[in-house]
Subunit: 135 residues, 4 copies
């Protein structure tokens, strides 16, 4: 597979994302993961905006996160997003967040998603979304 097997997103930590411990609040990595998926979709010709215009949404059914090292305000981090599974009705992704400068591994995670219609019913992914020849 090509380099489109994964997509890297660079993020600078916002002040509002930190908490009293002086580090990024752990819930914000879930938001970073989502932006990684957005970038992955854009980079591979599957923008989420297009899916939603067609009347479909990718609902999150599972999130798992491991926290190794904290990130702090102003730190630049690199999020690597990888598509790990494609089913007729869903997708799976895996994530790695590293310090952009020294490469230290900060956080890893994975998410699962199912395709739903606006009224919340599970649906088959549109044809274009089941075809991810990532090269």
């Amino acid at each position: 597979m090509s380099d489109k097997d994964f997509v890297d997103t660079t993020i600078r930590v916002r002040y509002a994302e930190t908490d009293t411990m002086g580090i990024v609040h752990h819930s914000n990595y879930i938001v970073y993961f989502e932006e990684g998926r957005s970038d992955f979709g854009r980079a591979t010709g599957h923008p989420v905006t297009e899916l939603e215009r067609a009347g479909y949404f990718l609902a999150v059914t599972e999130v798992n996160v491991r926290y190794m090292r904290p990130a702090v305000y102003d730190q630049i981090i690199t999020l690597r997003t990888r598509l790990t599974g494609v089913q007729s009705r869903g997708l799976s992704f895996a994530y790695e967040i590293r310090d952009a400068e020294n490469g230290d591994l900060l956080v890893t995670g994975s998410t699962k998603h199912i395709c739903i219609t606006r009224d919340g019913k599970a649906a088959r992914l549109p044809e274009a979304w089941r075809d991810w020849s990532l090269d």
Copy 2:
């Protein structure tokens, strides 16, 4: 006027709402204000959920906040929400946030809103929303 001239909401500060300074991040008071409006609507028979089911939204057009004293994690605060203006197409509110225990004034603010339809067009408030005999 009766005690329905204003509505008080009790909020306990969440850990995620704090930042590296060890205090509530200033953007969160805007979220508290919104919950104050929600409570005001419920307490006076004008729930926002009902307005939205009828196809209308109260879009925010203006927010002003003054910060006097910071709140910290676990602190219990009282938000007083007051309706300060009713126009055919909009509403205005004012807010005071105090420490629930000693009454110290922490934050004051005001917001303005216009009624819009789902497609974003300005609209007259539904009849029931122009009538706020607050007693």
Copy 3:
């Protein structure tokens, strides 16, 4: 064990917690879990504020969430927080979020935590925090 085996927290969904799909953004359940832990600590005589005053923090090392049904603005939900493990240097919790009215299961999850000092070093939990005779 007694009813202190778990602690229930009632939460009303805030407007700001929803997203374009019209449901609670999935990252917010992580914030709810944290408030469940806060409540659990208060209800069992182990307030987080006290731990932090003693110079210790409970850093999150792992979060797992399963999403079954979405919650929407204004919905009242019940979060059940259960302590599932106590080690010399850490704690584990499990969570269930249900619709407060009909009891439908919306979200389940678990988290793991280690005790650290302000400079981020792992530490033994203070004595009082290793003793959770939950009755």
Copy 4:
């Protein structure tokens, strides 16, 4: 004055920043403003991280926002941050947010800040922070 009179920040709207109305929740512009200040400080040699390492914080005392047009998920916006006042103990900023493509004005705002020490006492700004020859 030179082009350092203001600093432009490009932001892509995150999914988590939207709400049930399908637009950016109004509280998030306050977070964007803060990132504008961060960028302004970095671009003019006054990074916030350096100020905080010296033991000072810029506490927010006032926020004012006017909302003209909504932004939506995935939209690219340009935030222009301008320093509008320097006092011995504080700073003032003004902001304009526009659609990055067509230049439509979406949101304007202003903030005021005072310099405080870690224990919350008002303090004179460090010398370097009172000198903003912006050229």
